[in-house]
Amino acid sequence: MDDRMSETLEQAAAFQKLWLDSFGGVAKVWSQYSTDGPPPDEMRKARNGMLKALAGAWDEFMRTPQFMEMMKVSLNGALDLRRMARDGMNKIHEGFETPTKEDLDSILLAIRHIERRVLDRLEGMDDRVRKITERLEKPDERGGKPDGVGAAGAGELDERIRQIERRIGKIDGGIGKLGERIEELINRPPVASVSSEGAPGKRKASIK
């Protein structure tokens, strides 16, 4: 017996156990049905007991490796089907020279990479500015230089901070232009029905 066959049999056995446990549990609860109490209460008690037995059996089943294997196979099958359908659609789009979902995704990914690089650089600059500020705020730790020298150093640092801020401004402007160009690219007809609103990298905050 090959592995595939034994796997199938194990799954069938797990499924059989689920139904046996379910029916066994339901039958057990029903056998405890009493005619002593008021009928609606007894019926409700029996129903709750039966549902509890079913829930227990299903919970146990959903924890078995066999169930998870079945889940994996069905999920992978659905994903493969979706990929096949998408590949077919891509070919049609290519034929008509219209952008595919993958084209749009690759644009989004490119924007993400640019944004990530810019943000990393900004974060690096932010760290440097913070360190400079910390050094400025602790003049005593700079080797006890006279006040005049400290002030000159601070002036120099101020100038460097201004330079950094100017560079940040330029980068920000560059991102804005890049965003506009990408939006133009996406909106250029013919285009797929995808909104470019809120693309990453176009993060603008408004305070009310």
Binding site: N76, D105, S196
Partner: protein, 370 residues
């Protein structure tokens, strides 16, 4: 007077025929009342509100909105409190309805209360990562609150995945967080108590293939996964309960509010899902202090602020075993945990939690806020 034995002898298998007849009549009349209530169901559904406490938008960034809740009383605490919810559902569970609002407890106790609404991601957001949410959006929100209130620190209250995000944020920016309150927050994913933990096992779930194919994780997929955690309760027991109580005004109202929220799922950005599934569910990196978030690595030992860790005893989504270990992993000396007899949602909105748990949590925070 007849005894039980007499009844059985007199009536056989079906018990007391008289009692059966009476109950048939009672049920018949109740069924008529249920039928009469049925046409009103759609109208009641339309009346369901998504959030009840008055609020205003104070900050917006991309799809994110930050709400400030407007209380009627005076502000008693300077330290602002910020609610952070998961990326999976909408955050109005914090403010479900009158008498079932977690937010209202804090607003009425004089806290300057805010709520982060992440918004609904589109395909354009599929490449957003946990880093973007924690060190981007949440960090900007906290900085905005610091500027707005003039307070150097903010208290965070995170629920479910929002609790995990709040914990990560606190570990990375401890100096900005004064107090941390968590509700059913997933921290230690080594436990196999929850079905989700089992189903995401790398042997059975190829997260890369899933995210690469799907992009953003569809709301329907998440909703069905949650339903399957308790299929009998969700698909059989719940509708029966509704039918049985259709004539009870309060039951139906609670049911509709809850179902509206439960079915109001939103997609999760693909990369965030990939990171959560891979780094947390499959590799459990958070408890090992090795979770990468952008350029940073999360070290839970860096959390030193007061911590209130709330968890639900009957939580099938985030079992206690997934939340409880946090108190031993942080460096805080002021830490408390409460295991509440409720489910994942009941922890926030159940009648008992509203009466007992939330006044207690409010008092805890009041003692630790400026």
């Amino acid at each position: 007077m007849s005894t039980t034995t007499d009844v059985k002898e007199k009536t056989g298998f079906f018990g007391n025929w008289e009692a059966w007849q009476t109950s048939f009549l009672d049920e018949g009349f109740t069924n008529l009342r249920r039928m009469a209530a049925l046409p009103l169901l759609a109208e009641k559904m339309e009346r369901v509100r998504k959030g009840v406490t008055p609020r205003e938008i104070v900050y917006e960034e991309d799809r994110l909105k930050l709400y400030r809740y407007i209380g009627q009383g005076e502000k008693k605490h300077k330290t602002p409190l910020c609610f952070v919810f998961a990326l999976v559902n909408r955050p109005y569970i914090f403010d479900l309805k009158e008498g079932r609002s977690v937010l209202a407890h804090f607003v009425n106790a004089g806290f300057d209360t805010y709520l982060v609404d992440w918004g609904t991601p589109t395909r354009a957001e599929r490449y957003l990562t946990t880093d973007d949410y924690v060190n981007g959006y949440l960090h900007n929100v906290i900085n905005f609150l610091r500027e707005r209130t003039g307070e150097p620190q903010v208290s965070l209250l995170g629920y479910c995945m929002g609790g995990t995000l709040s914990t990560i944020y606190t570990a990375l920016h401890q100096e900005r967080v004064r107090n941390l309150i968590l509700l059913a927050a997933g921290i230690d994913f080594a436990t196999r108590d929850g079905l989700i933990n089992l189903w995401t096992d790398p042997r059975y779930f190829d997260v890369d293939k899933f995210v690469d194919t799907m992009g953003n994780i569809p709301a329907d997929f998440l909703q069905n996964a949650f339903l399957m955690l308790k299929p009998i309760a969700n698909l059989i027991e719940k509708p029966i309960n509704l039918l049985e109580n259709l004539h009870k005004e309060e039951f139906v109202e609670d049911y509709l509010y809850m179902e509206t929220w439960l079915n109001d799922n939103i997609p999760v950005p693909g990369e965030v899902y990939r990171e959560f599934a891979k780094y947390l569910f499959q590799q459990n990196l958070l408890t090992r202090n090795r979770l990468p978030v952008g350029r940073h690595t999360v070290d839970l030992r860096k959390i030193t602020c007061p911590l209130l860790n709330l968890m639900a005893k009957n939580d099938d989504l985030v079992p206690c075993a997934q939340t409880e270990p946090l108190n031993d992993l942080v460096s805080s000396t002021d830490k408390e945990k409460i295991i509440w007899p409720a489910g994942h949602i009941g922890l926030a909105v159940s009648g008992k939690a509203q009466k007992e748990l939330w006044p207690r949590a409010t008092e805890w925070l009041a003692k630790r806020s400026q």
